[in-house]
């Protein structure tokens, strides 16, 4: 995006030297410090600043160092970013804004480096996108940047080091608003996104060995989400499991459950099961392993749902 759009800039805390996760390594050498720069420690300031730039036609790719730090910018995102187009009758818009931020547990994050606030930021006017792997990440990020709506791109930080894939060079975009069926199956639909996909994949593997055929769907764009793919799958299997790290109460699984039961009520053979984090601040360091919805918990849920 930096290459094709001369008005695109990247900014955030510590992005200049590459960022704490080395995401922006090398960019300043290529594009210069007019286009890749550090901001002082003001999340609210830098997101607002991004919105302002975009409202006059530029493209801003803001990085928030950890999703846990996005909350001072909540005001700007919810009150300004999401409403810009609506309240100006489409005269102005901040579609060029993309906020990239690492989210999710990472094994040693504690309360302020492990949060998954994606549900809180799914508001009308803002798109929320979460990739599950490097190939997806590149395509989805390019789509977000070029999308004429403000987007928040949550990157699973646990996959920064763990995920290895052959990413195609060159420009490619993955469409937003489309979910992807990662695994085909007939017994149960398992829904997740981001880092959870890896866990769900291994749960599905284990379930296959025990004779359960699981259909695994990656939602990819959380808002606005692709209800048609989900609906088609649920009508086929009749059973649903939704899994995410964030707390179960009020997590995005709640929205998806409500919508699915609205559309597929008569096709459901079992209650929709949500395998999620407990209702505690995410995530206490010493309890992280029992807090996250791991593969075994999901396996149990699959068995329970299929045998309901």
């Amino acid at each position: 995006a930096m290459e094709t759009d001369p008005k695109a800039v990247v900014f955030g805390e510590d992005v200049k030297f590459g960022g704490v996760f080395r995401c922006t390594l090398g960019l300043v050498d290529k594009f210069g410090s007019d286009r890749v720069f550090n901001t002082p420690l003001s999340e609210q300031g830098l997101v607002g600043f991004g919105i302002g730039m975009c409202s006059v036609g530029h493209t801003a790719i803001a990085e928030i160092q950890f999703a846990d730090y996005i909350h001072p910018a909540f005001d700007q995102i919810i009150n300004e970013g999401s409403k810009y187009r609506y309240r100006s009758g489409s005269q102005f818009e901040c579609g060029g804004l993309t906020i990239r931020t690492p989210y999710g547990v990472v094994g040693h994050g504690g309360f302020y480096h492990s949060q998954s606030p994606e549900a809180t930021y799914c508001v009308p006017g803002v798109k929320v996108v979460i990739p599950r792997s490097p190939i997806q990440a590149k395509g989805l990020l390019l789509s977000c940047i070029r999308d004429p709506n403000p987007c928040i791109f949550f990157e699973p930080k646990i996959l920064y080091r763990a995920s290895v894939e052959e990413v195609p060079e060159g420009d490619y975009m993955i469409p937003l608003g489309k979910a992807e069926v990662v695994r085909e199956g007939t017994d149960v639909t398992v829904i997740g996104w981001g880092s959870q996909l890896r866990i769900l994949d291994s749960a599905c593997e284990m379930a296959e060995k025990e004779g359960y055929s699981c259909e695994l769907i990656d939602v990819r764009t959380l808002y606005p989400y692709d209800i048609d793919t989900l609906e088609a799958s649920v009508k086929k299997t009749g059973r649903v499991i939704i899994s995410h790290e964030a707390a179960v109460t009020g997590g995005w699984g709640a929205e998806l459950s409500a919508k699915i039961q609205e559309r597929c009520f008569l096709h459901l053979e079992a209650p929709i099961k949500r395998v999620c984090g407990y209702d505690i601040p995410p995530s206490p360091l010493v309890f992280e392993r029992i807090h996250i919805p791991d593969a075994l918990k999901n396996l149990d849920a699959i068995k329970e749902t299929v045998n309901y």
Partner: protein, 487 residues
């Protein structure tokens, strides 16, 4: 990741030798050695004056009332070399880029600080052997504790994100050791030594780092969340700037108790610690404004260690109008409070500056902003490769080790003998050893603790229609997200 070749402007500020000029002997050779740094810096500053023509106030004696001063110069590096290195390069000396970014100004700027004569507090009690010994032990404890934490982190017993404060002990000890037990402090994620200085048991702090049940927060907090009700340590905040409003609230309740509830004993002071990067966060401005407006008994202490992870202070903060360098202490007067600059590597100076501010606050005269200039010897956290800071910079500040400085000071002024110093060191090391053993042998928290403390009642989730805690209902665990946790 090449470390930048920049030197950065020097910050030689008040050192112990200046107040001493008034009342102590000048003759001892050790004193001269200790004073050599400031004298040579003075000479260098004079040199820079001659070559740059800036007005300066070199070595102004400390007058009554709060006074701040900054003296430019680059100690330890030949000024001539430094200046000639800059010649013709302009901004290139600081990394070479141009464009829409913060410009780092010339290094030899010298400003006169803010002088506040409204305070009725003149000076703190002079250091005696006992106080000096306590200070020394506390600084040594802090250093050894942090080193032990690093060691056990490498061995896998301490985990998560750990931020160590090696090099910043003078501020912690100098400031906190003179507080009363009922005074409050609010810190950042670099809070281990603040907790220790405030009186928290090193055993409990280490157990918290090891995430054991006996930790100061029952293992639920971790490195960045050291809280102690007993010692009035209000945390431990991972998010920068979030502790300042909390400190403000604590200060407010003191004022409220005194004025509204007419409690004559309500004169506790709150200290809010934060870093240089935090002075750019919105909450900083909001809190300084309110503190001044309500005349709260709070002291804002900025531990300026020049780096906010990888963001250099001079590139992150804009200077005051007319200045060439950013000075956080100058933001104080804008919000209606005195701003004081102090050498954070000098525990005596820190103690004096903060002591005056605390006395001022206790007397009801309002808040103070203190900028203590220091350095962190380790990286931002134990996961930080620390490649951005130049070796020259690190070396320069390593020479200003606060513990070494204070050691020399104590010996010079016959506050403590070599044997006594050694004894304090041994005591500190024994405490750390004891802490590690205690933490290692402590049990891990039970799984049943997972849901504790979400809400006020012990296991969260409230009270049911029968007036009993929900978790006491045998069906509760079976139907809720807590299923599977029962032990």
């Amino acid at each position: 990741d090449n470390p930048p070749a920049m030197m950065g402007p020097a910050r030689v500020v008040a050192s112990p030798s200046l107040p001493l000029l008034r009342s102590r002997r000048l003759a001892s050779p050790g004193f001269l050695l200790a004073g050599a740094a400031i004298l040579s810096a003075t000479a260098l500053s004079v040199f820079s004056f001659l070559s740059n023509g800036h007005a300066q106030n070199v070595g102004a004696p400390a007058a009554a009332g709060l006074q701040a001063r900054t003296i430019g110069g680059v100690p330890g590096v030949g000024m001539r070399q430094y200046l000639s290195g800059l010649k013709g390069k302009g901004m290139a000396a600081f990394g070479g880029e141009r464009g829409i970014r913060a410009k780092i100004p010339s290094p030899s700027a010298v400003e006169i600080g803010v002088e506040d004569t409204t305070s009725t507090q003149t000076s703190v009690s002079p250091l005696d052997s006992e106080t000096a010994g306590a200070l020394y032990e506390d600084m040594h404890l802090g250093r050894k504790f942090e080193d032990a934490t690093a060691q056990w982190y490498q061995r896998g017993k301490v985990f998560g994100f750990v931020h160590l404060a090696n090099g910043q002990e003078a501020i912690s000890s100098g400031a906190i050791k003179q507080l009363r037990p009922d005074d409050y402090i609010c810190s950042t994620y670099r809070d281990h030594i603040h907790a220790l200085s405030k009186g928290c048991d090193p055993k409990e702090v280490m157990a918290e780092l090891f995430a054991k049940k006996t930790g100061i927060c029952n293992g639920q907090g971790g490195s960045m969340h050291m809280f102690s009700k007993k010692h009035n340590m209000l945390g431990g905040f991972a998010f920068i700037g979030e502790g300042i409003p909390v400190a403000l609230g604590a200060a407010f309740q003191t004022r409220y108790r005194r004025d509204a509830l007419k409690d004559p004993n309500a004169d506790q002071v709150t200290l809010a610690f934060f870093g240089d990067g935090t002075s750019n966060v919105g909450q900083f401005a909001e809190c300084l404004n309110m503190a001044s407006l309500y005349k709260l008994p709070i002291v804002f202490v900025v531990e300026n260690n020049l780096w906010a992870i990888g963001m250099y202070h001079y590139r992150a903060t804009a200077p005051h109008l007319g200045d060439q360098l950013p000075h956080i202490y100058k933001k104080g007067p804008a919000f209606g409070m005195p701003g004081v600059n102090v050498d954070g590597m000098d525990v005596v100076a820190v103690r004096e500056a903060i002591g005056k501010a605390v006395a001022r606050a206790r007397a009801g005269e309002g808040p103070t902003l203190i900028e203590a200039e220091t350095y962190r010897y380790r990286g931002h956290s134990l996961a930080d490769p620390d490649q951005l800071r130049s070796p020259e910079e690190k070396e320069r500040f390593a020479k200003m080790d606060p513990i070494e400085k204070f050691r020399a000071y104590c010996l010079e002024n016959n506050l403590l003998t070599e044997e006594q110093l050694k004894e304090y060191e041994n005591k500190a090391e024994a405490k750390v050893q004891e802490a590690v053993e205690f933490a290692d042998n402590s049990p891990k928290p039970d799984k049943s603790q997972l849901l504790n403390n979400v809400f006020a009642d012990p296991k969260g989730f409230g009270v049911d229609e029968n007036g009993k805690y929900r978790y006491q209902n045998p069906d509760f665990m079976a139907k809720s997200a807590a299923a599977g946790l029962q032990q």
